[in-house]
């Protein structure tokens, strides 16, 4: 089941609800939640982090897309969320930090998360926004706009060159 209608800052709470219900139903379902790094500035995320830990949601895996960009600029300049690993550790999470563009590392992290018992896991995936497209990489402006046709064609060409599997 995919729940994608969730407003920023609310996803982890919704995922907690799924993980709790799954435990009640004895379904053995694992719940994965992806959050941006900018939305960690929302207070509700930390309310939810308390809940994940308090209810020992070891069937929950949170992934942070840590590209350090939000609409107004760099996350550490707009409103710093760091140190992220220490914050989540102190909230009772198992913390795994990886290169978010390395598929092998991502798979390893998910496998490790499955073995953690009695607490939730967070994977902090260090990423580059717009990776693989020269004019989009690390540019905050591309947060919420569509490319023009010409830009789209260049982007697809570059992705085809950089990533064989696309």
């Amino acid at each position: 089941m995919i729940c994608q209608q969730v407003h920023f800052g609310q996803g982890l709470s919704v995922a907690n609800g799924m993980a709790i219900a799954s435990k009640l139903n004895h379904e053995g379902v694992r719940v994965y939640c992806i959050c941006g790094d900018g939305e960690l500035q929302e207070g509700q995320i930390w309310e939810a982090a308390m809940t994940s830990s308090h209810y020992k949601l070891d069937n929950l895996c949170l992934v942070i897309d840590n590209n350090n960009l939000q609409i107004d600029g760099k996350v550490n300049e707009v409103m710093s969320i760091y140190p992220l690993d220490e914050k989540f550790k102190s909230f009772g999470f198992e913390v795994i930090t990886i290169d978010g563009h390395n598929i092998q590392k991502i798979i390893q992290a998910f496998e490790k998360a499955k073995t953690i018992k009695g607490k939730p896991t967070v994977i902090i995936a260090k990423t580059i926004k717009g990776k693989g497209i020269s004019f989009m990489e690390n540019v905050a402006d591309w947060h919420g706009k569509a490319p023009k046709e010409e830009e789209y064609n260049i982007a697809i060409e570059e992705l085809n060159q950089n990533y064989l599997y696309i």
Partner: protein
């Protein structure tokens, strides 16, 4: 109506919830550190494995309830009306109502009758806030019998629902024989001098006023509008045709509350029919 037998609708809510928990194992209850006051503590004592105290974090509570409902649970999320609909408005709108999830937001301590809890806790905007959200059904009950009916009814209903409950003990208006229906007001009396529309704690007040007025030779009828959304337009049209005046009393801001529903219904429906 016996003025000496009183009970707060929050108490009726807690009792009924604990009763329904026996029959329906999908019911889960969430509270934000106010279970003693919202009376979800009755359920919590009986079914601790299905009760979740979320601490003082209403926003997290609402979104968590939303997540639980996607796995087939029927979450009842309770707090005071101020915190449930005020602090967690965005979560009710976007986590619960937008995806049309089966969450019951049941809030106590609504209105100015909260009394000594003070102005910060006197929620007089909640009906307006909840009415404005698409998919949301809004109910405000007036006594023990009606509240117990509403709790059972909304547990069977699929979709987001707001149930407004009160702190003060109020008279028991109805008997077990009374039939209720969501979206249908209850007419009390046949008087034709005026119609008084009331909801929640003001229904018993309106009935007392009706009895006083009868002594003075003025015969009114009272309509208990337990469902605020969808509003019972038919009963408003009927009352307008049969009585000379329409009056509404409510423990809520006139902006966005029961009165607003009437004006809207009146403008849309009655003006063409009355002539």
């Amino acid at each position: 109506m016996n003025l000496d037998i009183t009970k707060a609708t929050r108490q009726s809510y807690g009792e009924k919830l604990a009763e329904l928990g026996e029959k329906n194992k999908d019911i889960v209850v969430l509270d934000a550190d106010l279970s003693g006051a919202t009376k979800t503590s009755i359920f919590a004592k009986k079914f601790p494995e299905r009760f979740f105290d979320m601490g003082i974090s209403e926003q997290d509570m609402m979104s968590t309830a939303a997540g639980m409902s996607t796995f087939g649970k029927i979450p009842f999320a309770s707090s005071f009306a101020m915190f449930a609909t005020g602090r967690a408005y965005d979560q009710i709108r976007n986590s619960i109502a937008y995806p049309n999830l089966n969450v019951k937001v049941c809030a106590s301590h609504a209105g100015v009758t909260v009394g000594e809890d003070g102005a910060t806790h006197q929620m007089i905007e909640d009906l307006g806030l909840m009415r404005g959200i698409p998919n949301m059904i809004v109910i405000c009950t007036s006594d023990d019998i009606e509240t117990k009916w509403a709790v059972e009814e909304i547990s069977k209903l699929k979709g987001p629902t707001y149930l407004r409950l009160c702190r003060l003990a109020t008279p028991i208006i109805y008997t077990e024989k009374q039939k209720f229906e969501i979206g249908k007001g209850v007419q009390i009396g046949e008087g034709t001098d005026a119609t008084v529309f009331a909801t929640g704690v003001t229904v018993a007040e309106a009935i007392q006023a009706k009895e006083e007025l009868e002594k003075a030779g003025i015969h009114i009828r009272v309509i208990d509008m337990h469902t605020i959304k969808p509003i019972d337009k038919d009963i408003i049209v009927k009352s307008a045709k049969e009585t000379k005046k329409l009056i509404s009393i409510e423990d809520h801001n006139i902006i966005g509350g029961l009165r607003k529903c009437h004006i809207r219904s009146f403008n849309r429906r009655i003006s063409s029919k009355i002539n």
